[in-house]
Amino acid sequence: MTMIFGVPLAVFMGQLLLGLINGAFYALLSLGLAVIFGLLKIVNFAHGAMYMLGAFATLLGMRYLGINYWAALLLAPLFVGLFGMLIERFLLRRIAHLDHLYGLLLTFGIALILEGTLVNFFGVSGARYPTPEALQGGYQTGFMFLPKYRAFVLVAAIVVCLFTWYMIERTRLGAYLRAGTENPALMQAFGVNVPLLITLTYGFGVALAAFAGVLAAPLYPVSPTMGSNLLIVVFAVVVIGGMGSILGAVITGLTMGLIEGLTKVYYPEAANTVIFLVMILVLLIRPAGLFGKEA
């Protein structure tokens, strides 16, 4: 059997793939955080809850409304995005003129309320969501078994990340967003409806989280606390990548997933902490993050 540094190739590749999948989730979530932080300057602590809502919308949609996975892939982010826009319009906008710390506290509170409410109804143990039929099974690649669904998650996440990057960096709408991030008052003076842009941006950012939630539903137990567990790591990823950089969020997310996967192969005890070690290193050497701009 082929060995890589004393580890069988199949095990090595398997962990690498798992790491990459985790990385795809980190990328999607930190991307949404970066988009929101860019324009609203708010660290969105409700992001994990939005991811969880995406998964729950998928689960409950199937259970009560007969909505299948493919429809949920579109409808759940739409639903959560609309919900996010209401939060922005009626809660965040009211405190937008205050210190950004208040936005952080408010979104943290929203996350706790959402989690608590769902725990009340569904408990914490979590429910399973079936893998969609078309994506059951897998491919035998010769050196490892590649489950179809995991391959799909990876591709879907990367496609959505690239789409988001393209929208923001290469379109006119994205130019509004980047310019609005720099100087919202001047954008208003050009006739751009900045408050609306902010509402839509927040909606889009949390819709990305909800999309990740839909992707996660067949992989992990759907439980009210699934978001907060993940969010801590995602914040570490964001710190490593640097707040506000779109491409930085995506690349850092995938890389950190891979590093986590590799650590699982060679020193499993450190797998859960390796990202935080990297975070400390980055904070010491480059406090603005790998892709962040020095203030």
Binding site: R172, L173, A175, Y176, L177, R178, A179, T181, E182, N183, A185, L186, Q188, A189, F190, G191, V192, N193, V194, L196, L197, L200, T201, F204
Partner: protein, 248 residues
């Protein structure tokens, strides 16, 4: 994330009529009271200046017109439309282009993106080709990051981008500040061309020598008020008086 379909603003076009009338305008930044009842008007096709010492309230007057300050009272009529209760993003759609003192070039956008950024507010703006003809430097540097340009080029860019939008009235804040004489001269030529095209221009200016030959009327501000109005015809006889007002 498209711009909303704005309901068409009630708009009246009356030739020769007033483009702008500011009456008893007070403006506040938080607790500080900056403008104390500013009164002036600008006719269509006119070029007027707001002169005065630093802190007299000239830039604040432009910002107040754009609804970029805190609280305002009084009246600001643009083309016969009261704008005091209008949200900031609706005001440019009355045909106003604003060029801020700090120029406001976006670092995250290249030159052409900066140029194309402000949405079209009315038809009849200059085409991108016309703009590049007027400012050839911008064409050569169109792929550069906006803030990598020289000060003069940034000023050209800040002006050029509001010419594309179809704005009929330009509010220009200290466009010659800190620029080399040859560039100041070029800006003067641009203003003359814009005036020939029928643009209405309000110029906040420190450089009186630049403004004097261009303007139809001058308004002198002090302590948040218009203290003197001087027409181009009166200027030669009032030059000494004006210099004492401006402290130059």
């Amino acid at each position: 994330m498209n711009q909303p379909a704005e309901s068409p603003v009630e708009y009246q076009d009356r030739d020769g009529a007033e483009m702008l009338r500011v009456s008893d305008l007070h403006a506040f930044y938080g607790e500080s009271h900056i403008l104390h009842g500013v009164d002036f008007n600008v006719k269509r096709g006119e070029l007027v200046t707001l002169l005065g010492r630093n802190g007299a309230g000239r830039s604040t007057t432009l910002k107040a017109i754009m609804n970029m300050v805190g609280r305002r009272t009084g009246s600001i009529m643009i083309n016969g439309n009261e704008t005091l209760g209008m949200p900031a993003h609706r005001i440019p759609r009355l045909g106003i282009g604003y060029c801020p003192e700090e120029r406001g070039i976006f670092a995250s956008l290249d030159v052409e993106e900066n140029l194309l950024l402000p949405p079209t507010v009315r038809s009849g703006g200059m085409s991108i080709d016309e703009i590049y003809e007027m400012f050839p430097n911008l064409y050569e540097r169109r792929r550069s990051q906006g803030t990598r340009l020289s000060g003069g080029e940034q000023q050209m860019l800040a002006m050029a981008r509001i010419l594309r939008t179809g704005a009929r009235m330009l509010l220009l804040d200290e466009i010659t500040e800190g620029l080399a004489p040859v560039i100041v001269q070029k800006l003067g030529q641009v203003l003359i061309k814009l005036k020939e095209r029928g643009m209405t221009i309000v110029l906040v200016e420190q450089n009186f020598r630049f403004a004097a030959p261009l303007a139809d009327r001058h308004f002198v501000m002090d302590h948040g008020l218009i203290v003197e109005e001087i027409s181009a015809a009166e200027l030669p006889s009032k030059r000494d008086h004006l210099h004492s007002l401006l402290g130059v």
